[in-house]
Subunit: 359 residues, 2 copies
C-alpha cells in the first residue's frame, strides 16, 4: 500500500460521497498517509466531521495551508463526468507541481499531456501521474490467468458504486489478519491511489481489456507464496453503460469465486434509470457469463448499508440471505469475516476451465 | 456502399481466407468496384481462381501493374496479428500515396501517424484512412438506441470469424429486395471498407464502446423511413479474449432480435482452444445477457458451411435446426430468405426495455 504523505484535493465536493469517491477510499483505507484535505467550503473542520472518516485530519482552504503539513503528493480526490476538469482547480494543480509535489489524477483527461501542467512540473520538479494512462504493449487476454496457483476472487456488482473496491480491500485485510498471503489487484483510480499500483481497466482499448485484467492477476501472482488475489471489479453486467468492461474483467482475470456487491435499497440502475433486478437474477447472470469459460460461482453477497441505521442494516442483510441463500454481510460495518469464511469453505481450491458439457 | 475503383493489397496471403478477410469481404459484396488484387505469388491468375470470388478481376504482381487499371483507392486486405505491418509491404503503401491514391487500412497501427507514409501522402496528394481510428467525442452509451423506430438486429456468434459481417450484409440485401428500407451498420474494418462508413468498435476505449454502438445505430436510423438496421457483431460472449466488446455492442445497440452465426463443425474456440459449447448454450447465454436490459431473443441461426459440400451442408443445417428449434440456413450458400422470414415473423415489432420482474 501507498505510504507517502498525501494531501487530498476535494474542493467544493468533500461532503458529497459520490463526487469524492477517491477521497473517501483513501481516508478509509490509508488515513495514516493523509496530512490534509482541501475544501474551502469546510476549511477549519476535522475530516471526520464532514466525511465520517479521517479523525484528526484537518480540512484546509487552499494549497498554501496544505503545504504547511509537508505533503509529498496531491491526489485529485474528485470524480468529474467524462473526465472534465474545472478550470478554477487548475491553479491548485499548477501550484502543487511548482512546489515539487507528485500530482496523482484518475480523470479521463491526461494531466501529463497538458502544456501548462507540464511547464509547472518542469519549473518546480513536480511529477504527474495519470492513473488512467493505458500501459504500453498490453497483451490480448488468453486464459493465462488460469496458470497462477493463487485463488482468484473478483468482486462484481449489481451496478457501479456498490462497494466493489471497499469490499476487495476489506477481504484482503481480513485474510492477512488470518495469516493468508493475500493481494489486492486494483482496476480503478481510487484502488490504484491506495495500493500504489494497478491498471485503470476502463481506459484501455476494448480489444485489450481482458488482457489488462490478465496482466494484473499475473503481476500479483508473481510474488512468492501468494494464496489469494482479490481483483477489484468494475461496472456491472446489468449496467448497460459499462457491462463490456465488467465481462472483459471476468474473462481476463478468471476468478475462482465472485463476491456480489449491492447497495441496500437501490431500486433503479444508475444512469439508465431502469428497475434494479432482484439479486438472484444478477447472480444467475454472472454465473451464466462465466459458465462457458470457467464455471466460477458467486460465494457471498457484500451489502452496502451506509444509508441505513444498524437495525435496518441487520434486517436488510437477513432479507438478502433469505433471497439468495448465500452468506451476506456489510464488510465495512460488520467486517469481512463472513465473506472470507465463504471463500475459504472449499479450501481455496482452484476452479478448472470449461471442459465442455451437454446442456 | 462504397463505389470507388479499388485495388486490394493481399500480397503473400490472398490464398488464405483467414488472413485475407477484408479482401474476401470486398470481393464478395462490392466486386464491381475492384480493379485488381496485388499478390505476386498468384500474379497473372484471375481472382476467382484463387479465392472463388471476383471473376474477371486480375491478380497483379505489384502496384505499378495495378496502377494501369486506374484505381482511386488501395485497401489493405490482410489482417496482421496485433496490427503489426510487414516492412516489405511498406514500399507499396508509400508508392500508392505518392501516386495520389487513398490508402485504407484497418490495422491497429495507425498509418496516419507514420512519418514516412505522411510524407509520401504529402508528396503525391494521397490520403490515409485508418479505419480503426477512434472517433472523437464518443458518448457513453445510455439506452438512446431504443429511441429509434427501426427494428434493430445484431449478428452475434459462437466465436470470431463465424460470418457475422457476411450474414449482416446478406440480410440487408435480402430485405432491400423485398422493398424493406434496410441499413447495414458496420463495426469492423472490412464492413467499413465495404459500406464506406462505420466505427471500428474494438478500437474504442472500453468505457465508450457501448456509446460507439449506440452512435452507430442512431446514425443509421437518422435517414428517413428506415425500417431495419442490421448491426455487425464482433467477437463472441463465449470467446474470452473479446467477450467484453461483444457485450458492449449488445447493450449499446439494443437489438430487437439477434442472429447467431456459427461455423459448421468447429469444435474448439479460437485462440484459447477450449471446447466449443453446444449452440443451445450460446443461445441461452446471449439471451441471458440481454434479459436484464432488453429481453431480445435469437431468432435464427446462420451457419457457415464453406468447408462442406452441398449434401453435408444440408445435413449440418438440419442438425442445427433440430438442436436449436430455430430456423437455420447458410445465407451465403442458400440466401438469407429463411433468416429474414424469422426476423419479420412478428412484424418487426420493437422489443421494450427491461421492466423488472420476479425470477
Amino acid at each position: 500500500m501507498e505510504k507517502r504523505r498525501t494531501v487530498i484535493l476535494a474542493e467544493g465536493s468533500f461532503a458529497d460521497f459520490g463526487e469524492s469517491k477517491t477521497a473517501y477510499g483513501i481516508l478509509r483505507f490509508i488515513p495514516e498517509t493523509v496530512v490534509a484535505v482541501i475544501d474551502s467550503e469546510h476549511a477549519g473542520k476535522d475530516s471526520s466531521e464532514v466525511s465520517g472518516l479521517g479523525h484528526g485530519i484537518p480540512i484546509v482552504a487552499d494549497l498554501a495551508s496544505a503545504l504547511q503539513h509537508k505533503p509529498q503528493r496531491l491526489v485529485v480526490g474528485i470524480a468529474t463526468a467524462g473526465g472534465w476538469f474545472p478550470s478554477e482547480l487548475r491553479k491548485i494543480i499548477v501550484e502543487a507541481l511548482e512546489n515539487g509535489l507528485e500530482v496523482v489524477s484518475g480523470l479521463h483527461i491526461m494531466f501529463s499531456e497538458d502544456d501548462e501542467f507540464r511547464a509547472a512540473a518542469a519549473r518546480g520538479g513536480g511529477r504527474i501521474v495519470d492513473l488512467r494512462k493505458e500501459p504500453e504493449n498490453l497483451p490480448v487476454g488468453t486464459l493465462q490467468a488460469q496458470k497462477t496457483d493463487a485463488f482468484v476472487v473478483l468482486t462484481v456488482g449489481t451496478d457501479c458504486n456498490t462497494g466493489k473496491m471497499t469490499t476487495s480491500i476489506a477481504v484482503v485485510r481480513e485474510a492477512e489478519k488470518r495469516g493468508i498471503k493475500a493481494r489486492f489487484a486494483p482496476t480503478g483510480q481510487t484502488g490504484i491511489a491506495i495500493a500504489g499500483s494497478g491498471i485503470c481497466i476502463d481506459h484501455v482499448l476494448s480489444d485489450f481489456t481482458a488482457g489488462a485484467a490478465e496482466k494484473l492477476v499475473l503481476e500479483q501472482a508473481s510474488a512468492s507464496g501468494v494464496q489469494l488475489i482479490v481483483v477489484e471489479g468494475q461496472g456491472a453486467l446489468a449496467q448497460p453503460v459499462y457491462s463490456g468492461v465488467t465481462l472483459s474483467l471476468m474473462h481476463g482475470s478468471l476468478p475462482d469465486a465472485m463476491i456480489l456487491c449491492h447497495r441496500a435499497g437501490q431500486d433503479l440502475v444508475e444512469i439508465v434509470d431502469t428497475p434494479m433486478p432482484p439479486l438472484t437474477d444478477h447472480i444467475r447472470l454472472y454465473e451464466e457469463a462465466m459458465r462457458l469459460v470457467k464455471p466460477a460461482e458467486i460465494k457471498a453477497v457484500a451489502l452496502s448499508t451506509r444509508s441505513l441505521d444498524e437495525a435496518e442494516a441487520e434486517k436488510a442483510i437477513q432479507q438478502a440471505k433469505k433471497e439468495t441463500g448465500l452468506p451476506v454481510t456489510d464488510p465495512i460495518r460488520f467486517g469481512a469475516g463472513v465473506i472470507l469464511d465463504a471463500l475459504c469453505a472449499d479450501g481455496l481450491k482452484k476452479v478448472p476451465l470449461y471442459k465442455g458439457f451437454q446442456s
